[in-house]
């Protein structure tokens, strides 16, 4: 599938997951690659971009095993962007489906 398209969808997935709870990087990568076939290395750059744009913030939290983990938390701004993207996505999918089913 087209890589730019995949990236756009990936942005939506990451925002959607972070809207539900805070994740640490590995957890997020693991969760997404369970459902989508994507090289995992594309998720960390995306998270960093989100942070630069103010969609997420980071904090460290201790874990039972090993060193503290870097968590990602959605900001208000990130939530707004997610909601807009979700609406866009729904109408896009509706449009594509209409075309695929040949409704004239």
């Amino acid at each position: 599938m087209n890589i730019q398209f995949k990236k756009g969808v990936l942005e939506l997935c990451v925002l959607s997951l972070l809207d539900k709870k805070d994740f640490y990087g590995y957890e997020l990568v693991e969760y997404i690659s369970k459902y989508i076939n994507i090289s995992e290395g594309t998720i960390y750059p995306l998270l960093r971009k989100f942070r630069t744009e103010g969609y997420v913030t980071n904090y460290l939290e201790e874990s039972q095993e090993g060193p503290p983990r870097k968590y990602y938390k959605l900001t208000e701004r990130g939530r707004e962007v997610f909601e807009d993207l979700e609406i866009e996505w729904e109408s896009f999918i509706d449009g594509v489906n209409s075309i695929l089913r040949g409704e004239m």
Binding site: Y24, G25, Y26, V29, S33, S39, E40, G41, T42, Y44, P45, L46, L47, R48, K49, T52, E53, E65, G66, P67, R69, K70
Partner: protein
Amino acid sequence: MSRKEYLELLRIYLQNLPIFEVEDILSDYEEHFDIGISKGKSEEEISKELGDPKEVANNYKTNYKSSYSDSDYSRNVDYSNDNTRKLLITLLIVAFNLIVVLGPYLGLVGLLMGLYGISISLFVGGVVALFGSPLSFFTALPAPHILTSVSFSIGLIGLSILAGILAVYLTKQFYRLTLKYINWNIELINRGGTFK
């Protein structure tokens, strides 16, 4: 690919980004490897799942470009070489300063010096007035009354002090603005060369 090899390659491909950024990025992957290994995966497996380090590095670079290019005033300048770009910006700023800024700047310096001159001459005038009205040099009038001379003198010296205070105040502001402008120039040059 082992963990060490993967991180080394990533570091090489990221070398155009600022160093603190590179360290921060690498620490994310250190964490990723740590957790992966603690879940029983091998280093090779994790490297493979992460994908080609060159691709990963390119993702960071395109993100960097898109998030900073909006505020980039020299988009036409070649991005392929940081130093060329930095040099070009430096030359542009120097040329701009020489052609546009220098003239008015020296003009302002002249104005300030003039103001000091006014202050000094008013003071001298005040002192001279103590010994007689300057008018008496040109006319045949008799020397003015002592009270006239003294008040004339006080008035002139007062004006001289006011002019002096104004001159010092303006000099301070001027100095502050000059420093600010120089810092801004330096910042422009640095920012122009850092992000690729």
